[in-house]
């Protein structure tokens, strides 16, 4: 299990830092040398050089395409006390859960827009969002989409297996931070407090034969953001080695101050872009996903630099595509453009918007 690798990797991170102290000259002698760029402040010229490499790798392996998908929140009930999330149980908000009829309406609307990939999200609450509720949602999604992803609370292996048998293609699960102490601090109560149960969930899903997984840290939570990026990359590399037939995606959501009750350590645009470029160079075949948390000028300019997947027309309220009465958001959307507008930008950059990643069976 990846959990057992953590200690060794923490030591390695310290070793890399020490090596940098001894010499700031970065060679490409070992696979991990490129990660040193995370730890130093580099000039725009040096970043440009790296970005050209990232662009070449992305084009070679993913071609001129950007995969498009959209999320659907089916419930915002949550028992976790997370200090950074709009749906946290700490927030006294009016909660909502979609009925199956509403889910069907939402999905039909999303499909009509042209999407063939859906990401289904819920808060962590086994009473309001039971396993059966998630399972039945996937059964509905199967009628409309070829690629069905979930971002829900960690499940056990049997549950993942059952979802896969019913059409689930992938699991998205962010560890938020790989720093166990910080993890404890920002998750005040609730089942999410269990660091290991969440970390191992990725492997439970992999053992249940999901086709793809999406991991990532929540940037801005950890002052030492480079550590979380490093651990995410190592996590992905571990999955690549041990589960080679799985498509891996990485996201780097940046925390939003307005929703956070804990201190935020903002990751600058430059560091964010550098992180994506280094991810591409270190992991040439991994999908890199950028959500509508980011504003258009960041999203548009990252096309071709490593990003291969983008969400569009996202709503972070429950429903939102058909039912528009809910107001409580998980986070703020910074790219409110229509799918048509986003597709047009992709085309202008000589890339093709791609909607189909799997086969509807």
């Amino acid at each position: 299990m990846f959990f057992n690798e953590l200690k060794k990797l923490e030591k390695n991170f310290i070793r890399i830092k020490k090596e940098l102290k001894e010499s700031r000259y970065i060679t490409e002698n070992s696979e991990t040398d490129v990660l040193k760029f995370l730890l130093i402040d580099i000039s725009s010229q040096a970043l440009e050089k790296l970005s050209l490499k990232a662009r070449r790798i992305t084009d070679y392996f993913f071609g001129r395409t950007i995969l498009l998908y959209t999320p659907l929140y089916i419930s915002d009930y949550c028992r976790n006390g997370c200090l950074y999330c709009g749906f946290s149980a700490l927030n006294k908000i009016k909660r909502k859960k979609l009925s199956y009829r509403e889910i069907e309406k939402e999905m039909s609307e999303i499909r009509n827009k042209g999407f063939n990939t859906i990401l289904i999200l819920t808060g962590e609450d086994r009473y309001h969002s039971s396993f059966e509720y998630i399972l039945n949602t996937i059964k509905i999604a199967r009628k409309y989409f070829s690629e069905i992803l979930i971002e829900v609370y960690p499940l056990n292996e049997d549950e993942y297996r059952k979802l896969v048998e019913n059409g689930l293609t992938g699991v998205t699960l962010y560890q938020e931070t790989y720093d166990k102490n910080l993890y404890k601090k920002v998750h005040l109560f609730g089942p999410k407090k269990d660091f290991r149960w969440r970390l191992d969930a990725i492997e439970r899903a992999l053992k249940s034969k999901v086709k793809e997984i999406n991991i990532g840290p929540l940037l801005g939570l950890n002052k030492n953001w480079q550590f979380d990026v490093y651990m995410t990359l190592m996590h992905a590399r571990y999955i690549e080695k041990n589960y080679p037939d799985v498509e891996i995606s990485i996201s780097y959501p940046r925390i939003q101050r307005s929703f956070s009750k804990t201190k935020v350590y903002p990751v600058s645009d430059k560091d964010f872009v550098k992180t994506i470029i280094i991810t591409r160079i270190f992991l040439p075949r991994v999908q890199i996903n950028i959500s509508t948390r980011e504003p258009p000028y960041i999203r548009d300019n990252l096309i071709g630099f490593g990003v291969t997947k983008m969400s569009a027309e996202s709503k972070t309220v429950v429903g939102g595509h058909y039912i528009t009465s809910n107001k409580e958001k998980q986070f703020e959307i910074n790219d409110n453009r229509t799918l048509e507008e986003i597709m047009s930008v992709i085309r202008t950059k000589n890339y093709r918007p791609e909607f189909n990643n799997w086969i509807k069976v």
């Binding site: 993913f62 071609g63 070829s146 890339y351 093709r352 189909n356």
Partner: protein, 258 residues
């Protein structure tokens, strides 16, 4: 030069350049590539087809006179490949199937063992099966027995444009196997295409090099001409390379005198 037709999957083809469609910046390029480079075979991944889409639908851009080979990319074993092949063949109305069972995302390497299984099953069902493999003569022989129409060994890892780095493993396949050999993956420039032909490969399949070229149509023309040149030379018989200098003017007059 005589009209060089070659037979593959019960079809007679002129062009030995097959083009993949997956990485293209727009499907609108397909008709022009087909026309200008004389391409007769295109591959399409079943996972990229959505017959109901309102967006750019690849099916609308494939000229009628072209043979489509659907590929099973995304499958992880024979069972999945068979299912995807059957779905794809129905949507596109083709019986040409490229078996692509990738079990390693970092290197995009196929599972030869599962590929043999899928080939056997689909060939029996009457499909024209084109298995994509890591170059291995033993597997290639099994594929012949399994009823494959051709074998498609990779020249290099997909998308690397590194040329035919697996040359020494592909050569014995070309020599020993009686069904066509199509070199797939790794071909990044016209000289690689010509090299494949000079080696005696029957055809090549290219996607990345065309798709990410500044001008995909021009690149497909360049590849097509390289393929013709390479093939012409192969048919004529290519002189062996030598380890020592060899004067171009014959010395036979002198030899006669002594």
């Amino acid at each position: 030069m005589k009209k060089d037709f070659f037979e593959i999957g019960t079809k007679k083809l002129k062009s030995r350049l097959f083009i993949g469609t997956g990485k293209l910046p727009t499907y609108k390029l397909i008709p022009e590539i087909v026309k200008k480079a004389g391409v007769e075979v295109l591959t399409v991944a079943v996972r990229r087809i959505d017959p109901d889409t309102r967006e750019e639908n690849i099916l609308n851009y494939i000229p009628k006179n072209v043979t489509v080979m659907v590929n099973t990319s995304g499958s992880r074993n024979a069972k999945e490949a068979i299912k995807i092949a059957e779905i794809g063949s129905e949507i596109i109305e083709t019986d040409w199937i490229k078996i692509e069972i990738e079990v390693d995302y970092r290197y995009l390497l196929p599972d030869n063992e599962e590929t043999v299984k899928a080939t056997k099953y689909l060939s029996k069902k009457g499909y024209k099966v084109f298995p994509y493999i890591t170059p291995d003569l033993v597997t290639a022989r099994k594929l012949v027995d399994a009823g494959a129409c051709a074998v498609m060994p990779l020249g290099s890892f997909i998308g690397t444009n590194r040329g035919i780095t697996a040359k020494s493993l592909i050569e014995p396949i070309i020599k020993e196997i009686d069904i066509p050999v199509i070199i797939d993956a790794g071909i990044g420039r016209p000289s690689h295409a010509a090299e494949a032909m000079e080696m005696g490969a029957d055809a090549i399949l290219v996607n990345t090099a065309v798709a990410i070229a500044k001008d995909p149509v021009k690149m497909s023309i360049a590849l097509s001409e390289a393929v013709r040149a390479g093939r012409m030379a192969y048919e004529m018989g290519i002189l062996k390379e030598k380890e020592y200098a060899d004067p171009s003017s014959p010395v036979s007059d002198f030899l006669k005198k002594i």
